[in-house]
Symmetry: C2
Subunit: 216 residues, 2 copies
């Protein structure tokens, strides 16, 4: 097999990394076959001898690429005849790559306990102390007041919501990498959480259904 994606995995083979989802959408967009290696947090250290990597890691034949943005640029450069991930210009996707961090924090406040509960025991033992040190509080305290976090998350979506009232995709008439970056956040939540992070009549919900069709 020529292409291997190391894909962050929870119990029940749930694939939940928002960054890995960006890459899976990009590979599907390009029509490229690949196999995934289910990878737990505590498996990542075994991927290499050097500094700890972050996922996604893509082995494309004899080339290893780390980081979802670097992978997108690699795929665009190496497979120019496949549909472009950056139609028109790369600048739009780059902005979305810098905007999407504004929606991750309120989403994390909604789902981080679901992420924790989805992990197997070895990963839970790594995840809880690591994240609680970062947050400066227990996971349970971090997710308290879900109503406020849901409101904050939905408000943070306004720039894409207003865009999706006008056109079917963030990229315009058809999806591209500018869509896949924020879409990863929704696939992250969907993999581990029952939380209805957007209302069913939200334009964002319809867009996510259209983006997911890229995976079929």
């Amino acid at each position: 097999m020529a292409r291997i994606l190391y894909d962050l995995t929870a119990s029940g083979d749930r694939r939940f990394s928002p960054y890995c989802w960006r890459t899976k959408l990009a590979l599907a967009h390009k029509g490229l076959d690949y196999e995934t290696v289910a990878t737990r947090f505590t498996d990542i250290d075994r991927l290499n001898d050097g500094p700890r990597l972050t996922l996604p890691v893509l082995d494309d034949n004899d080339v290893r690429i780390v980081d979802s943005w670097a992978i997108a640029e690699h795929l665009e450069g190496h497979y120019p005849d496949a549909p472009s991930l950056f139609p028109g210009s790369k600048a739009h996707a780059r902005f979305m790559n810098n905007w999407t961090p504004t929606i991750h924090p309120p989403l994390l406040r909604l789902i981080v306990l679901d992420v924790y509960n989805a992990l197997d025991a070895a990963d839970q033992a790594y995840f809880r102390p690591d994240r609680e040190a970062k947050f400066g509080m227990t996971l349970e305290a971090f997710v308290e007041d879900q109503d406020a976090h849901l409101k904050a998350f939905r408000a943070a979506l306004n720039p894409i919501r207003e865009t999706l009232k006008i056109q079917p995709f963030i990229s315009g008439d058809t999806p591209a990498y500018a869509d896949y970056i924020p879409a990863g956040a929704f696939l992250w939540a969907e993999a581990v959480s029952e939380c209805e992070i957007v209302a069913s009549d939200d334009p964002v919900a319809g867009w996510m259904q259209r983006v997911k069709a890229v995976l079929n």
Copy 2:
């Protein structure tokens, strides 16, 4: 004169509307000559007989266009041989048009009293009660705690800041309408306020200098 822009104006002929600045940058980008009509808030009612307009209003020969986005689309459609306002795709600019409202509110908290002080007496008499009713508090109360508002505004700039660490313009190597939309916010502040809304070593400050060169 073929082209007239009704341009929101304070005392001392200061032109401060962020939306009018978007249009002036777009006209300069297209290389189109125009004259402006200095227009106070209290002059706007005299522009037409129907519902109150918002500025910018552009009379392009015998066509009147209202709203900065509609004007940009008009200019792009009617002057296709001039440099494109939407190189690559219009989707990026549309997203910036929906993202920029996230930076206006914290900026308003910094400068609205400066806006008020810049107006002439007739406009002040309209502006204060209108805005205080909207804010539910006095202008003075609205701008209290400038340090917090400055911090919030600068944090809200992160998506463009991170982008401008990588490339000279939001649009990529050269400026276009995706830049002019947020740039209008900075020209708004500059027209009426002494507040240093971004630090001089912020990548956003360097970008603004480059964008302003379009006006020369």
